[in-house]
């Protein structure tokens, strides 16, 4: 009996310590935006909303969120459409060397990281005149995310029964019509997964926009956030705290949406 009591006390102590470790760094983000005169220390907020006023007046803050949105949506559209087409073809047709191709794709996407490729990507962007261009950044990030996306979506395609496509074909549908009206609705959860995964990746990506966008009006929230706390004397904590919160909320909402709707399913490479 004493042993189980000791065990219980040990369990709850350890859980409390771990809970504190994971909670304490986050408290500031929850408290400071609603405190009138925030400092680095976490204090009980007095629930003011006037800090959000400073965000509206800030010249770049809100636009950077729009830029993040443009980059995220643009990349997600490209990744979803291109990976779905490629994965469908690879799932249904035995193209010569298909398995080797998939193996190579998986290998490439895991070794060519932003860190390893920052020098050539920077130079490539200069040569192709893609510096300070949202389109250029979207293309670069799409290239990096596509291999893993093709891999994930192909799983969904492989698991789809072929009888629907066969019957649609019997009634005279063309391959493109079949993909659009038969396959797409069936694999919609897979497409949604890829879209959310891409948006989350791009929304949080710091290195690529930091390297390739020098025009402050084009920079996304990740870069503006970094600029806010590293440049120019005393950091404005009113702006930083509210901006940090506004920048984080979409990620949390998206996570809650995904885990509620599809369950948080485990994909090996969901994070890069």
């Amino acid at each position: 009996m004493t042993r189980t009591w000791a065990g219980r006390i040990g369990f709850y102590t350890l859980i409390a310590v771990l809970l504190a470790f994971f909670t304490i760094p986050l408290l500031w983000l929850a408290a400071a935006p609603f405190t009138s005169d925030p400092s680095y220390e976490v204090r009980m907020p007095d629930f003011t909303f006037e800090n959000f006023q400073t965000i509206i007046e800030h010249p770049y803050a809100l636009w950077s969120l729009v830029n993040s949105l443009i980059l995220a949506i643009g990349t997600a559209l490209l990744v979803v459409v291109l990976s779905a087409l490629a994965a469908y073809a690879l799932s249904r047709v035995r193209i010569p060397g298909r398995d080797a191709l998939l193996y190579a794709l998986l290998l490439l996407s895991s070794i060519i990281t932003g860190t390893a490729a920052m020098v050539p990507l920077f130079q490539l962007a200069i040569e192709l005149n893609l510096i300070d261009s949202h389109t250029g950044l979207i293309l670069i990030m799409t290239g990096g995310l596509l291999p893993a996306a093709i891999f994930m979506i192909k799983d969904f395609m492989d698991a789809t029964p072929k009888s629907y496509e066969e019957s649609a074909r019997v009634f005279g549908a063309s391959p493109l019509q079949i993909v659009r009206h038969v396959v797409t609705p069936v694999v919609r959860p897979g497409l949604a997964t890829i879209a959310v995964w891409t948006i989350a990746n791009v929304w949080g990506n710091f290195l690529m926009p930091f390297l390739l966008l020098s025009d402050v009006e084009k920079q996304p929230a990740a870069v503006i956030m970094y600029t806010l706390y590293t440049e120019g004397g005393q950091a404005n904590l009113k702006v930083l705290s509210t901006f940090g919160l506004l920048y984080s909320v979409p990620v949390v909402l998206m996570y809650l949406f995904v885990s509620k709707k599809y369950g948080f399913r485990f994909h090996g490479g969901i994070k890069r």
């Binding site: 350890l14 771990l18 809970l19 994971f22 909670t23 304490i24 760094p25 408290l27 500031w28 983000l29 680095y40 220390e41 291109l82 087409l85 490629a86 073809a89 690879l90 799932s91 249904r92 047709v93 035995r94 193209i95 290998l107 490439l108 996407s109 070794i111 060519i112 932003g114 860190t115 390893a116 920052m118 020098v119 050539p120 990507l121 920077f122 130079q123 490539l124 670069i140 799409t142 290239g143 291999p147 066969e166 019957s167 074909r169 019997v170 009634f171 391959p175 079949i178 989350a200 710091f206 990740a222 956030m225 706390y229 590293t230 940090g244 920048y247 984080s248 949390v252 948080f264 485990f266």
Partner: protein, 311 residues
């Protein structure tokens, strides 16, 4: 109308020949159209992923610079950059720091913490489990620029919450213990992945095996070693390889310490950035990137072979 409700039957009649040729080409795509479907994706991957990886190898063999004469007419210098790296103490310092970072925050921090959490929450349902898991996952999904600043605030010398809690105002974590700071930061940041992977793995351990071990009087540690560990060995290896690869390539230490003070937390990812893009030595930076690429390749090949042998 009967035909509409039972479509598979005519399908069998109509398409036996193509069905045999393309065993599963149900939409009648054919190789040509399939190629057209794959081409746009492959083109983007080729230009923005494969080409940079090959180009970095070439750049590493030149004296290319961001500005100046060597920017206009880069010269081929052979293996000079690699020789320079191997004899440069800064490169070795950075490699050693990277090793500490991967070992401390991924191999030890995230694995131990992730497994501990998964093991403790294994048989639980309800609020406690969802609160703990939710917070650990929150640390993982928030944007890196935000969490980095949260840690800057937490560790601040004069007004930071940590010093206030410990009662040691004026203790400069980021200046005096930069490596420890980024190791603990990255443990906090990345534990969620290991926790979820071990959570899934522990679900595969048959409860009856654990039950009989418990009845036979095995202690908690003995159960872990003799029953649980053999079942999840594959998961542990997968986990180790993936998080080592990610941590090795992680750029977020830059957001917390920018490699400083004095290069004391300058892991290779930050080192490449400083050498190539701040100092403008693109050729030398590319040579270090090539080394990173090779290390990634070794780890990834190891991982893929592991995946294959499982199947």
């Amino acid at each position: 109308m009967a035909q509409v409700t039972s479509p598979p039957e005519p399908a069998e009649v109509v398409s036996p020949a193509p069905a045999r040729r393309y065993s599963s080409d149900a939409a009648g795509l054919g190789r040509l159209r399939a190629g057209a479907f794959v081409a746009p994706a492959l083109a983007l991957i080729a230009v923005f992923l494969v080409f940079p990886a090959l180009w970095v190898i070439y750049l590493g063999l030149t004296n290319y610079r961001l500005t100046g004469v060597a920017a206009a007419e880069p010269q081929f210098v052979g293996l000079d950059n690699f020789v320079k790296a191997l004899t440069d103490p800064e490169f070795w310092d950075s490699t050693w720091l990277t090793f500490q970072f991967v070992l401390g925050s991924a191999v030890i921090g995230q694995v131990v913490l992730g497994f501990t959490l998964a093991w403790m929450l294994k048989d639980r349902r309800g609020t406690l489990k969802s609160v703990v898991e939710g917070l650990v996952i929150l640390a993982w999904i928030l944007p890196s620029a935000v969490v980095s600043f949260l840690w800057v605030a937490l560790l601040d010398r004069d007004a930071g919450t940590l010093n206030a809690l410990l009662g040691i105002p004026g203790f400069a974590w980021l200046l005096d213990y930069p490596m420890l700071s980024i190791i603990i930061f990255n443990t906090w940041r990345g534990t969620a992945f290991s926790m979820m992977l071990y959570g899934a793995a522990l679900g595969n351990v048959p409860p009856s095996h654990l039950e009989s071990a418990r009845l036979a009087g095995a202690s908690g540690w003995q159960q872990l070693r003799d029953v649980v560990f053999p079942h999840i060995r594959g998961h542990i290896l997968t986990n180790l390889l993936l998080i080592s690869l990610w941590t090795f390539n992680d750029f977020s230490p830059f957001l917390l310490t920018a490699g400083g003070p004095d290069g004391k937390s300058e892991v290779l990812a930050v080192h490449v950035y400083k050498v190539a893009l701040q100092n403008g030595d693109l050729g030398y930076g590319a040579a270090i990137s090539t080394v990173i690429l090779l290390i990634n390749l070794v780890v990834a090949v190891f991982y893929l072979r592991l995946l294959r042998s499982k199947k």
